[in-house]
Symmetry: C2
Subunit: 238 residues, 2 copies
Protein backbone atom coordinates (compact mmCIF):
# COMPACT_ATOMS: atom_id res chain seq x y z
CA UNK A 1 0.00 0.00 0.00
CA UNK A 2 2.90 2.34 0.84
CA UNK A 3 4.45 1.46 -2.52
CA UNK A 4 1.20 2.16 -4.35
CA UNK A 5 0.86 5.61 -2.76
CA UNK A 6 4.51 6.39 -3.54
CA UNK A 7 4.10 5.37 -7.18
CA UNK A 8 0.95 7.44 -7.52
CA UNK A 9 2.66 10.44 -5.93
CA UNK A 10 5.69 10.13 -8.19
CA UNK A 11 3.52 9.86 -11.30
CA UNK A 12 1.60 12.98 -10.22
CA UNK A 13 4.80 14.94 -9.58
CA UNK A 14 6.51 13.84 -12.79
CA UNK A 15 8.86 16.48 -14.10
CA UNK A 16 8.66 18.65 -11.02
CA UNK A 17 10.95 18.24 -8.03
CA UNK A 18 9.13 15.64 -5.93
CA UNK A 19 9.75 15.64 -2.18
CA UNK A 20 10.46 12.33 -0.49
CA UNK A 21 7.29 11.17 1.24
CA UNK A 22 7.31 9.97 4.83
CA UNK A 23 4.67 7.48 5.96
CA UNK A 24 3.19 6.88 9.37
CA UNK A 25 1.11 3.74 9.68
CA UNK A 26 -1.33 3.25 12.54
CA UNK A 27 -2.31 -0.35 13.31
CA UNK A 28 -5.70 -0.46 14.98
CA UNK A 29 -7.31 -3.33 16.84
CA UNK A 30 -9.22 -3.96 20.04
CA UNK A 31 -7.47 -3.31 23.35
CA UNK A 32 -7.29 -7.10 23.84
CA UNK A 33 -5.23 -7.59 20.69
CA UNK A 34 -1.61 -8.69 21.18
CA UNK A 35 0.14 -5.46 20.19
CA UNK A 36 3.40 -6.74 21.73
CA UNK A 37 3.52 -9.50 19.14
CA UNK A 38 2.62 -7.08 16.34
CA UNK A 39 5.45 -4.71 17.30
CA UNK A 40 7.94 -7.58 17.48
CA UNK A 41 7.18 -8.80 13.96
CA UNK A 42 7.27 -5.38 12.30
CA UNK A 43 10.40 -5.15 10.14
CA UNK A 44 13.24 -3.42 12.02
CA UNK A 45 14.10 -1.22 9.09
CA UNK A 46 10.77 -0.37 7.53
CA UNK A 47 9.87 2.37 5.04
CA UNK A 48 7.32 3.83 7.46
CA UNK A 49 6.89 4.93 11.08
CA UNK A 50 4.61 2.62 13.08
CA UNK A 51 2.12 3.15 15.87
CA UNK A 52 -0.42 0.88 17.53
CA UNK A 53 -3.87 2.27 18.23
CA UNK A 54 -6.06 0.35 20.67
CA UNK A 55 -9.83 0.71 20.55
CA UNK A 56 -12.98 -0.03 18.58
CA UNK A 57 -13.16 1.29 15.02
CA UNK A 58 -16.84 1.98 15.65
CA UNK A 59 -15.68 4.97 17.72
CA UNK A 60 -13.35 7.89 17.10
CA UNK A 61 -9.69 6.86 17.33
CA UNK A 62 -7.81 9.82 15.86
CA UNK A 63 -7.97 13.63 15.95
CA UNK A 64 -9.92 15.42 13.24
CA UNK A 65 -8.40 15.63 9.77
CA UNK A 66 -5.24 13.65 10.49
CA UNK A 67 -5.56 10.58 8.24
CA UNK A 68 -4.97 10.48 4.49
CA UNK A 69 -5.82 6.86 3.80
CA UNK A 70 -7.80 4.34 5.84
CA UNK A 71 -7.55 0.64 5.07
CA UNK A 72 -9.81 -1.88 6.75
CA UNK A 73 -9.03 -5.47 5.93
CA UNK A 74 -11.39 -8.31 6.84
CA UNK A 75 -12.72 -6.55 9.93
CA UNK A 76 -15.93 -4.68 9.15
CA UNK A 77 -18.06 -7.83 9.24
CA UNK A 78 -17.70 -7.56 13.04
CA UNK A 79 -20.51 -5.76 14.83
CA UNK A 80 -19.83 -3.63 17.91
CA UNK A 81 -21.79 -6.13 20.04
CA UNK A 82 -24.53 -8.77 19.82
CA UNK A 83 -27.90 -7.12 19.02
CA UNK A 84 -29.64 -6.65 22.37
CA UNK A 85 -33.04 -8.00 21.26
CA UNK A 86 -31.40 -11.28 20.24
CA UNK A 87 -30.50 -11.99 23.86
CA UNK A 88 -33.72 -10.65 25.36
CA UNK A 89 -36.02 -13.55 26.28
CA UNK A 90 -39.07 -11.30 26.03
CA UNK A 91 -38.28 -10.02 22.55
CA UNK A 92 -39.73 -11.52 19.36
CA UNK A 93 -36.14 -11.32 18.06
CA UNK A 94 -34.82 -13.63 20.81
CA UNK A 95 -32.42 -16.19 19.30
CA UNK A 96 -32.62 -18.81 22.06
CA UNK A 97 -30.50 -21.92 21.57
CA UNK A 98 -28.62 -20.52 18.60
CA UNK A 99 -25.31 -18.72 18.19
CA UNK A 100 -26.05 -16.97 14.91
CA UNK A 101 -28.97 -16.03 12.69
CA UNK A 102 -28.32 -18.76 10.09
CA UNK A 103 -31.80 -20.32 10.12
CA UNK A 104 -33.34 -17.65 12.30
CA UNK A 105 -36.71 -16.01 11.80
CA UNK A 106 -37.05 -12.62 10.15
CA UNK A 107 -37.08 -10.67 13.46
CA UNK A 108 -33.64 -12.02 14.44
CA UNK A 109 -32.16 -11.27 11.04
CA UNK A 110 -33.64 -7.79 11.17
CA UNK A 111 -32.07 -7.17 14.59
CA UNK A 112 -28.68 -8.06 13.10
CA UNK A 113 -29.31 -5.89 10.04
CA UNK A 114 -30.41 -2.95 12.17
CA UNK A 115 -27.23 -3.09 14.27
CA UNK A 116 -25.13 -3.43 11.10
CA UNK A 117 -26.63 -0.17 9.83
CA UNK A 118 -26.04 1.65 13.13
CA UNK A 119 -22.48 0.35 13.44
CA UNK A 120 -21.60 1.36 9.90
CA UNK A 121 -23.08 4.78 10.51
CA UNK A 122 -20.80 5.17 13.56
CA UNK A 123 -17.82 3.86 11.60
CA UNK A 124 -18.40 6.18 8.64
CA UNK A 125 -19.04 9.22 10.86
CA UNK A 126 -15.87 8.59 12.86
CA UNK A 127 -13.68 8.12 9.77
CA UNK A 128 -15.26 11.10 8.01
CA UNK A 129 -14.09 13.30 10.88
CA UNK A 130 -10.62 11.77 11.02
CA UNK A 131 -9.83 11.81 7.31
CA UNK A 132 -8.44 14.91 5.62
CA UNK A 133 -10.63 16.43 2.93
CA UNK A 134 -10.25 14.31 -0.17
CA UNK A 135 -8.95 11.40 1.92
CA UNK A 136 -9.47 7.85 0.76
CA UNK A 137 -10.79 4.70 2.38
CA UNK A 138 -10.25 1.13 1.12
CA UNK A 139 -12.33 -1.62 2.69
CA UNK A 140 -12.16 -5.36 2.17
CA UNK A 141 -14.66 -7.60 3.88
CA UNK A 142 -16.46 -10.89 3.36
CA UNK A 143 -19.96 -10.37 2.02
CA UNK A 144 -22.88 -12.31 0.59
CA UNK A 145 -24.79 -12.19 -2.72
CA UNK A 146 -27.76 -9.82 -2.93
CA UNK A 147 -30.87 -11.25 -1.32
CA UNK A 148 -29.14 -14.28 0.17
CA UNK A 149 -30.28 -15.27 3.65
CA UNK A 150 -27.60 -16.53 6.07
CA UNK A 151 -28.61 -20.17 5.59
CA UNK A 152 -27.63 -19.86 1.92
CA UNK A 153 -24.09 -18.68 2.66
CA UNK A 154 -20.87 -20.48 3.60
CA UNK A 155 -20.28 -18.24 6.61
CA UNK A 156 -23.84 -18.78 7.86
CA UNK A 157 -23.51 -22.55 7.62
CA UNK A 158 -20.10 -22.53 9.31
CA UNK A 159 -21.50 -20.52 12.22
CA UNK A 160 -24.48 -22.90 12.40
CA UNK A 161 -21.94 -25.71 12.75
CA UNK A 162 -20.32 -23.89 15.67
CA UNK A 163 -23.74 -23.44 17.30
CA UNK A 164 -24.50 -27.10 16.80
CA UNK A 165 -21.20 -28.08 18.49
CA UNK A 166 -21.95 -25.86 21.49
CA UNK A 167 -25.46 -27.33 21.61
CA UNK A 168 -24.01 -30.86 21.70
CA UNK A 169 -21.67 -29.83 24.52
CA UNK A 170 -24.64 -28.48 26.48
CA UNK A 171 -26.59 -31.71 25.92
CA UNK A 172 -23.64 -33.70 27.27
CA UNK A 173 -23.48 -31.41 30.31
CA UNK A 174 -20.01 -30.02 29.47
CA UNK A 175 -21.36 -26.47 29.42
CA UNK A 176 -24.68 -25.11 30.63
CA UNK A 177 -27.60 -24.44 28.30
CA UNK A 178 -27.80 -20.87 29.66
CA UNK A 179 -24.24 -20.25 28.50
CA UNK A 180 -25.10 -21.40 24.98
CA UNK A 181 -28.25 -19.26 25.03
CA UNK A 182 -26.26 -16.22 26.14
CA UNK A 183 -23.74 -16.54 23.33
CA UNK A 184 -24.28 -15.07 19.85
CA UNK A 185 -21.72 -14.16 17.24
CA UNK A 186 -21.57 -10.39 16.63
CA UNK A 187 -21.11 -10.69 12.86
CA UNK A 188 -22.97 -9.39 9.84
CA UNK A 189 -21.96 -10.25 6.29
CA UNK A 190 -23.46 -7.55 4.08
CA UNK A 191 -24.35 -7.67 0.41
CA UNK A 192 -23.05 -5.02 -1.99
CA UNK A 193 -26.55 -3.50 -1.87
CA UNK A 194 -26.47 -3.34 1.96
CA UNK A 195 -23.16 -1.47 1.75
CA UNK A 196 -24.28 0.89 -0.98
CA UNK A 197 -27.39 1.73 1.01
CA UNK A 198 -25.57 2.59 4.29
CA UNK A 199 -22.87 4.58 2.49
CA UNK A 200 -25.35 6.58 0.38
CA UNK A 201 -27.67 7.15 3.37
CA UNK A 202 -24.75 8.32 5.50
CA UNK A 203 -23.77 10.83 2.81
CA UNK A 204 -20.21 11.40 4.09
CA UNK A 205 -18.44 9.32 1.43
CA UNK A 206 -18.87 8.54 -2.24
CA UNK A 207 -18.17 5.08 -3.64
CA UNK A 208 -15.37 5.36 -6.18
CA UNK A 209 -15.13 1.68 -6.98
CA UNK A 210 -16.59 -1.59 -5.77
CA UNK A 211 -15.13 -4.93 -6.73
CA UNK A 212 -16.03 -8.52 -6.04
CA UNK A 213 -13.26 -10.94 -5.21
CA UNK A 214 -14.42 -14.46 -5.79
CA UNK A 215 -13.22 -16.96 -3.25
CA UNK A 216 -14.71 -20.29 -4.24
CA UNK A 217 -15.18 -22.80 -1.43
CA UNK A 218 -12.95 -25.82 -1.83
CA UNK A 219 -14.93 -28.84 -2.96
CA UNK A 220 -13.76 -31.09 -0.17
CA UNK A 221 -14.75 -30.16 3.38
CA UNK A 222 -11.68 -30.48 5.59
CA UNK A 223 -12.88 -30.76 9.22
CA UNK A 224 -9.44 -29.98 10.72
CA UNK A 225 -9.01 -26.90 8.55
CA UNK A 226 -12.55 -25.75 9.34
CA UNK A 227 -12.07 -26.18 13.08
CA UNK A 228 -8.78 -24.23 12.94
CA UNK A 229 -10.57 -21.55 10.95
CA UNK A 230 -13.39 -21.37 13.48
CA UNK A 231 -10.95 -21.37 16.40
CA UNK A 232 -9.09 -18.40 14.89
CA UNK A 233 -12.36 -16.48 14.50
CA UNK A 234 -14.24 -17.38 17.65
CA UNK A 235 -11.88 -18.68 20.34
CA UNK A 236 -11.18 -15.24 21.77
CA UNK A 237 -14.82 -14.39 22.37
CA UNK A 238 -16.33 -17.75 23.32
CA UNK B 1 0.02 17.85 30.80
CA UNK B 2 -3.11 17.85 28.61
CA UNK B 3 -4.79 20.09 31.19
CA UNK B 4 -1.82 22.48 31.23
CA UNK B 5 -1.87 22.83 27.43
CA UNK B 6 -5.63 23.35 27.46
CA UNK B 7 -5.38 26.06 30.13
CA UNK B 8 -2.60 27.82 28.25
CA UNK B 9 -4.60 27.66 25.02
CA UNK B 10 -7.72 29.02 26.67
CA UNK B 11 -5.81 31.89 28.28
CA UNK B 12 -4.27 32.75 24.89
CA UNK B 13 -7.67 32.68 23.15
CA UNK B 14 -9.46 34.67 25.84
CA UNK B 15 -12.28 36.73 24.44
CA UNK B 16 -12.14 35.16 21.00
CA UNK B 17 -14.08 32.06 20.05
CA UNK B 18 -11.72 29.25 21.09
CA UNK B 19 -12.02 25.94 19.25
CA UNK B 20 -12.11 22.77 21.32
CA UNK B 21 -8.68 21.17 21.18
CA UNK B 22 -8.22 17.49 20.42
CA UNK B 23 -5.17 15.68 21.78
CA UNK B 24 -3.35 12.67 20.45
CA UNK B 25 -0.81 11.18 22.84
CA UNK B 26 1.90 8.81 21.62
CA UNK B 27 3.44 6.55 24.25
CA UNK B 28 6.94 5.54 23.21
CA UNK B 29 9.10 2.77 24.62
CA UNK B 30 11.35 -0.01 23.40
CA UNK B 31 9.80 -2.80 21.33
CA UNK B 32 10.22 -5.10 24.37
CA UNK B 33 7.98 -2.92 26.54
CA UNK B 34 4.62 -4.40 27.53
CA UNK B 35 2.34 -2.23 25.41
CA UNK B 36 -0.56 -4.65 26.00
CA UNK B 37 -0.49 -3.77 29.69
CA UNK B 38 -0.20 -0.07 28.93
CA UNK B 39 -3.24 -0.14 26.64
CA UNK B 40 -5.28 -2.06 29.24
CA UNK B 41 -4.64 0.49 31.99
CA UNK B 42 -5.36 3.57 29.87
CA UNK B 43 -8.66 5.10 31.03
CA UNK B 44 -11.55 3.93 28.83
CA UNK B 45 -12.96 7.40 28.48
CA UNK B 46 -9.92 9.63 28.26
CA UNK B 47 -9.63 13.23 27.07
CA UNK B 48 -7.13 12.22 24.38
CA UNK B 49 -6.56 9.70 21.59
CA UNK B 50 -3.82 7.19 22.38
CA UNK B 51 -1.21 5.40 20.32
CA UNK B 52 1.77 3.24 21.23
CA UNK B 53 5.02 3.81 19.39
CA UNK B 54 7.66 1.09 19.64
CA UNK B 55 11.32 1.92 19.08
CA UNK B 56 14.36 3.71 20.44
CA UNK B 57 14.06 7.44 21.07
CA UNK B 58 17.65 7.76 19.85
CA UNK B 59 16.25 7.27 16.34
CA UNK B 60 13.47 8.89 14.33
CA UNK B 61 10.03 7.66 15.41
CA UNK B 62 7.62 10.10 13.74
CA UNK B 63 7.24 11.91 10.42
CA UNK B 64 8.68 15.39 10.07
CA UNK B 65 6.86 18.27 11.75
CA UNK B 66 4.09 16.22 13.35
CA UNK B 67 4.67 16.71 17.10
CA UNK B 68 3.78 19.80 19.12
CA UNK B 69 5.08 18.75 22.51
CA UNK B 70 7.57 16.05 23.50
CA UNK B 71 7.79 14.88 27.08
CA UNK B 72 10.52 12.53 28.23
CA UNK B 73 10.20 11.38 31.80
CA UNK B 74 13.02 9.54 33.58
CA UNK B 75 14.33 7.93 30.42
CA UNK B 76 17.16 9.98 28.93
CA UNK B 77 19.71 8.68 31.42
CA UNK B 78 19.65 5.48 29.31
CA UNK B 79 22.30 5.22 26.63
CA UNK B 80 21.59 3.51 23.32
CA UNK B 81 24.06 0.73 24.24
CA UNK B 82 27.12 0.03 26.39
CA UNK B 83 30.14 2.01 25.11
CA UNK B 84 32.08 -0.40 22.89
CA UNK B 85 35.53 0.39 24.32
CA UNK B 86 34.29 -0.56 27.79
CA UNK B 87 33.81 -4.16 26.66
CA UNK B 88 36.93 -4.32 24.51
CA UNK B 89 39.68 -6.20 26.35
CA UNK B 90 42.34 -4.45 24.28
CA UNK B 91 41.09 -0.95 24.99
CA UNK B 92 42.48 1.27 27.78
CA UNK B 93 38.79 1.98 28.55
CA UNK B 94 38.03 -1.71 29.26
CA UNK B 95 35.91 -2.01 32.41
CA UNK B 96 36.70 -5.63 33.27
CA UNK B 97 35.02 -7.04 36.36
CA UNK B 98 32.71 -4.06 36.80
CA UNK B 99 29.16 -3.31 35.73
CA UNK B 100 29.37 0.47 35.81
CA UNK B 101 31.93 3.26 35.87
CA UNK B 102 31.46 4.07 39.58
CA UNK B 103 35.12 3.78 40.63
CA UNK B 104 36.44 3.44 37.12
CA UNK B 105 39.48 5.16 35.67
CA UNK B 106 39.19 8.28 33.54
CA UNK B 107 39.23 6.38 30.22
CA UNK B 108 36.13 4.40 31.16
CA UNK B 109 34.26 7.47 32.34
CA UNK B 110 35.24 9.27 29.15
CA UNK B 111 33.90 6.41 27.04
CA UNK B 112 30.54 6.76 28.82
CA UNK B 113 30.60 10.55 28.43
CA UNK B 114 31.44 10.31 24.75
CA UNK B 115 28.50 7.97 24.07
CA UNK B 116 26.22 10.23 26.12
CA UNK B 117 27.12 13.14 23.82
CA UNK B 118 26.57 11.09 20.66
CA UNK B 119 23.26 9.69 21.91
CA UNK B 120 21.95 13.09 22.88
CA UNK B 121 22.97 14.46 19.50
CA UNK B 122 20.92 11.68 17.84
CA UNK B 123 18.01 12.30 20.19
CA UNK B 124 18.00 16.07 19.63
CA UNK B 125 18.38 15.74 15.85
CA UNK B 126 15.50 13.25 15.65
CA UNK B 127 13.16 15.36 17.79
CA UNK B 128 14.13 18.57 15.97
CA UNK B 129 12.91 16.99 12.72
CA UNK B 130 9.72 15.63 14.27
CA UNK B 131 8.62 18.73 16.15
CA UNK B 132 6.67 21.50 14.45
CA UNK B 133 8.38 24.87 14.30
CA UNK B 134 8.06 26.44 17.72
CA UNK B 135 7.37 23.04 19.29
CA UNK B 136 8.30 22.39 22.88
CA UNK B 137 10.19 19.64 24.68
CA UNK B 138 10.05 18.91 28.43
CA UNK B 139 12.62 16.52 29.83
CA UNK B 140 12.96 15.12 33.33
CA UNK B 141 15.89 12.92 34.19
CA UNK B 142 18.08 12.01 37.14
CA UNK B 143 21.35 13.93 37.08
CA UNK B 144 24.39 14.63 39.23
CA UNK B 145 25.97 17.82 40.63
CA UNK B 146 28.55 19.57 38.45
CA UNK B 147 31.96 17.94 38.62
CA UNK B 148 30.80 14.93 40.63
CA UNK B 149 32.36 11.61 39.65
CA UNK B 150 30.09 8.52 39.74
CA UNK B 151 31.57 7.31 43.03
CA UNK B 152 30.25 10.48 44.69
CA UNK B 153 26.64 9.90 43.59
CA UNK B 154 23.80 7.76 44.92
CA UNK B 155 23.16 6.18 41.52
CA UNK B 156 26.85 5.35 41.07
CA UNK B 157 27.03 3.67 44.47
CA UNK B 158 23.81 1.73 43.89
CA UNK B 159 25.16 0.41 40.58
CA UNK B 160 28.44 -0.48 42.29
CA UNK B 161 26.36 -2.51 44.75
CA UNK B 162 24.76 -4.38 41.84
CA UNK B 163 28.20 -5.06 40.36
CA UNK B 164 29.42 -6.31 43.71
CA UNK B 165 26.44 -8.72 43.97
CA UNK B 166 27.12 -10.10 40.48
CA UNK B 167 30.80 -10.43 41.41
CA UNK B 168 29.87 -12.43 44.53
CA UNK B 169 27.65 -14.69 42.41
CA UNK B 170 30.56 -15.30 40.02
CA UNK B 171 32.89 -16.13 42.94
CA UNK B 172 30.37 -18.67 44.20
CA UNK B 173 30.13 -20.19 40.72
CA UNK B 174 26.46 -19.29 40.22
CA UNK B 175 27.29 -17.32 37.08
CA UNK B 176 30.48 -17.21 35.04
CA UNK B 177 33.07 -14.47 35.40
CA UNK B 178 32.86 -13.87 31.62
CA UNK B 179 29.18 -13.07 31.96
CA UNK B 180 29.89 -10.49 34.64
CA UNK B 181 32.71 -9.03 32.52
CA UNK B 182 30.42 -8.80 29.50
CA UNK B 183 27.74 -6.88 31.39
CA UNK B 184 27.78 -3.11 31.83
CA UNK B 185 24.90 -0.77 32.57
CA UNK B 186 24.16 1.57 29.63
CA UNK B 187 23.44 4.60 31.82
CA UNK B 188 24.83 8.10 32.07
CA UNK B 189 23.66 10.60 34.67
CA UNK B 190 24.57 14.03 33.33
CA UNK B 191 25.15 17.25 35.20
CA UNK B 192 23.30 20.43 34.23
CA UNK B 193 26.53 21.57 32.57
CA UNK B 194 26.76 18.33 30.52
CA UNK B 195 23.22 18.95 29.28
CA UNK B 196 23.75 22.61 28.52
CA UNK B 197 26.86 21.76 26.54
CA UNK B 198 25.22 19.10 24.31
CA UNK B 199 22.13 21.22 23.73
CA UNK B 200 24.11 24.37 22.86
CA UNK B 201 26.56 22.40 20.67
CA UNK B 202 23.69 20.73 18.83
CA UNK B 203 22.15 24.13 18.10
CA UNK B 204 18.66 22.79 17.26
CA UNK B 205 16.99 23.81 20.54
CA UNK B 206 17.21 26.65 23.02
CA UNK B 207 16.90 26.07 26.76
CA UNK B 208 13.89 28.00 28.02
CA UNK B 209 14.11 26.85 31.60
CA UNK B 210 16.13 24.42 33.70
CA UNK B 211 15.09 23.43 37.17
CA UNK B 212 16.54 21.20 39.85
CA UNK B 213 14.22 18.91 41.75
CA UNK B 214 15.82 17.86 44.98
CA UNK B 215 15.20 14.28 45.96
CA UNK B 216 17.04 13.72 49.23
CA UNK B 217 18.08 10.14 49.94
CA UNK B 218 16.24 8.67 52.89
CA UNK B 219 18.51 8.46 55.92
CA UNK B 220 17.93 4.79 56.53
CA UNK B 221 19.09 2.34 53.87
CA UNK B 222 16.29 -0.17 53.27
CA UNK B 223 17.82 -3.26 51.59
CA UNK B 224 14.46 -4.66 50.44
CA UNK B 225 13.42 -1.35 48.91
CA UNK B 226 16.81 -0.96 47.24
CA UNK B 227 16.71 -4.46 45.78
CA UNK B 228 13.19 -3.86 44.44
CA UNK B 229 14.40 -0.57 42.97
CA UNK B 230 17.37 -2.26 41.33
CA UNK B 231 15.22 -5.12 40.07
CA UNK B 232 12.84 -2.65 38.41
CA UNK B 233 15.74 -0.91 36.69
CA UNK B 234 18.00 -3.78 35.73
CA UNK B 235 16.09 -7.07 35.69
CA UNK B 236 15.02 -6.72 32.06
CA UNK B 237 18.54 -6.29 30.74
CA UNK B 238 20.60 -8.54 33.04
Amino acid sequence: MVEAVELKYQSMQQGSCAQTLEFQIYFNDHVDNDFNMLFKILPFSSPYFSAGVPGSFHNRLFPKGTLHLVHSNYALQWLSKVPEEVQDKNSPACNKGKTYCTWAKKEVREAYYSLFRNDWKSFLNARAEELVEGGLMAIQLPGVPHGAVPSQTGAGLLLELLGSCLDDMAKRGIISEEKVDSFNMPLYFPSAQDLERVIVMNNKFTIERMEFLSQPEKESFDPILKSLHMRAIAEGII
